[in-house]
């Protein structure tokens, strides 16, 4: 007698970012997950689609003076100042643990000049366990008067090309939302060779303490993240996904599987969970579980059916 076929098959959650295959579309957002190990008690690191680590610069950076963060309505502002260990200590101290996890590690990189980006990418080339490089172009270009790379299509393209020239692994460019038209920069980096784009980085904002009449951040301005920015992020992902051929990774206020799948409908092939990790360090597990349940419940062949499947009349 034929045994009954039970619904025991795991749903197909695999997605790919260029040549990089992911077991599911859920990654961590840079700067919200440390170097991964901080979360080992709270989340199953081996189950993640990818671990995106804190942004790495050529030299170690101490970061900004405090206060560095302030809570705002349904969100938070941060001006951490890109504190990190620098690329060499990242490779020697952090990568061995990360590489042993068996999930792709995506290294977020940042610099003050095109050449600095190039040099970091050069040092990371060939390091075992690195699945992709994510280029943070929201940093100021010191050689061009401090204008953020990400706000100028030509500078963004130059950084992309410089990093791409050093990398065997896919290069993801993380776009800044602090521009008039995000699609212009998206197309510029695609043309310069980017394998994917991720968006959005934080929206620049500020908060003021009326009593002291001072800004709440020592840096005066900072980056807004959390649920407050989700509608803006969804809109930008939707716009970019319509004009580029490379995969788009959605970021911005994602805390649940529902949030994640909305980004996929808008055109994202994968997503990053950011600020939610601070409140619920097990957030990524919850998002993966929720997506798996949805795919099963809807009897979908694959989670990929969601990508760009938004119904616009």
């Amino acid at each position: 007698m034929e045994p009954l076929i039970m619904q025991t098959k795991n749903p197909d959650l695999q997605v790919s970012i260029g040549s990089l295959a992911l077991q599911n579309p859920v990654m961590t957002a840079s700067g919200t997950f440390g170097y991964g190990r901080e979360f080992e008690d709270f989340v199953n690191l081996r189950r993640l689609g990818a671990v995106v680590v804190k942004g790495i610069s050529l030299e170690p950076r101490a970061g900004n003076p405090p206060p560095r963060i302030v809570e705002t309505a349904c969100g938070m502002l941060n001006a951490i100042g890109l504190e990190n260990t620098g690329v060499d200590r990242f490779i020697s101290d952090k990568m061995p643990y990360l590489a042993a996890l068996g999930v792709p590690v995506i290294v977020n990189i940042l610099g003050d000049s095109v050449d600095e980006y190039r040099q970091i990418a050069e040092r990371l080339a060939g390091v075992a366990g690195i699945g992709a490089i994510e280029v943070n172009i929201s940093c100021p270009n010191v050689k061009k008067g401090g204008v953020a790379f990400g706000t100028d299509p030509q500078m963004a393209a130059a950084v992309t090309a410089a990093v791409k020239g050093q990398c065997q692994v896919p290069v993801i460019v993380k776009l800044s939302p602090n521009v008039t038209d995000v699609t212009v920069v998206a197309r510029a980096v695609e043309e310069a060779g980017a394998d994917a784009v991720s968006l959005i980085n934080t929206l620049i904002g500020m908060a003021i303490d009326l009593r002291s009449r001072r800004p709440r951040l020592a840096n005066v301005i900072g980056g807004l993240s959390g649920p407050a920015i989700k509608p803006v992020a969804l809109r930008m992902v939707y716009q970019v996904a319509r004009v580029v051929r490379i995969p788009v990774i959605g970021i911005g206020g994602i805390a649940t599987a529902e949030d994640a799948m909305e980004f996929m409908l808008a055109g994202a092939s994968a997503v990053q969970v950011g600020t939610a990790n601070f409140i619920n360090p097990g957030a990524c597990d919850d998002v993966i579980d929720g997506i798996a349940a949805y795919v099963t419940e809807q009897q979908m062949g694959s989670v990929r059916e969601l990508i760009g499947a938004l119904r616009v009349a």
Binding site: F39, D41, P65, P66, R68, E83, F278
Partner: protein, 266 residues
């Protein structure tokens, strides 16, 4: 590391004064792993505003698995927490941070100001447990506690006296104990040179005590409070400056620091 994210039951909520609240949770897993000076991150409501958890030092743990926090209602988050009722579930993350390094009880001087008294009760309890296991006459730490007035201070002093510890009390308005600052009480004490300070309170108080200890070349551990988003070393939002330059992180390197390592002149 042994850190946990758990939904736990609020066993009781005590209004100590109009705006000071003590919450008791049934949190055996976190309680059994907790050391004095460590903290928990508490979700004040399940919604998105306020978004972030709030850090609270662990006020007391019991062998039955209860864990207490003590706080003053200062804003939206603490106001929501004060309204949680017994039987309701609250999400805790912890125990987090390093905790105090314990010396000998007879050479310990605990100094707390305001809500900074919270972690010192747990610390005092641990000192007494340590001394009773020494199988000799119970050795008591010296305890100095200060607050604005009698209403705020007296119930907290009572907690220590129940343990059999005499407390040197000081209030800003003179309504209970010494009229003045805990630092004045400390100066008059003639503390043995080998006694170490364990201190938690408002920044000016800790700065003054750190300064005094530096002059006397006395060991001093302080419990530092800052805003923080994650409590576990990920956001790097809780940086405080070091005397030697650069920053340290309250959540993962602290919240307990040797006072001499920190930059106090801000």
């Amino acid at each position: 590391m042994s850190q946990f994210q758990q939904k736990v039951e609020l066993v009781c909520s005590d209004r100590m004064t109009e705006d000071v609240v003590r919450l008791t949770f049934n949190a055996p897993t976190i309680a059994v792993h907790a050391r004095p000076g460590q903290f928990v991150m508490v979700q004040t409501s399940p919604g998105k505003d306020p978004l972030l958890r709030r850090p609270f030092s662990i006020h007391q743990v019991t062998s039955e698995g209860y864990l207490q926090i003590l706080f003053k209602v200062l804003g939206k988050g603490t106001d929501l927490l004060a309204q949680v009722r017994a039987g309701e579930q609250v999400s805790l993350l912890g125990p987090l941070g390093n905790g105090f390094t314990l010396g000998l009880p007879e050479t310990a001087c605990l100094i707390g100001g305001g809500m900074g008294i919270a972690p010192l009760l747990f610390l005092a309890t641990r000192f007494l447990q340590q001394s009773s296991s020494d199988n000799v006459a119970k050795k008591m730490p010296t305890v100095i506690l200060g607050a604005r007035n009698r209403t705020e201070l007296e119930p907290l002093v009572d907690d220590f006296q129940e343990l059999g510890i005499d407390v040197l009390a000081a209030t800003d308005d003179g309504s209970f104990g010494y009229h003045g600052l805990v630092t004045d009480v400390l100066k008059k004490l003639n503390l043995s040179p080998s006694a170490g300070i364990y201190c938690c309170g408002p920044r000016p108080m800790m700065a003054a005590i750190a300064h005094l200890c530096q002059i006397e070349n006395r060991a001093c551990q302080v419990s530092v409070e800052t805003v923080m988003a994650c409590g576990m070393g990920a956001c790097l939002g809780c940086a405080v400056p070091l005397k030697a330059g650069g920053y340290t992180h309250v959540c993962s390197d602290g919240p307990i620091f040797e006072a001499e390592k920190l930059l106090w002149s801000l």
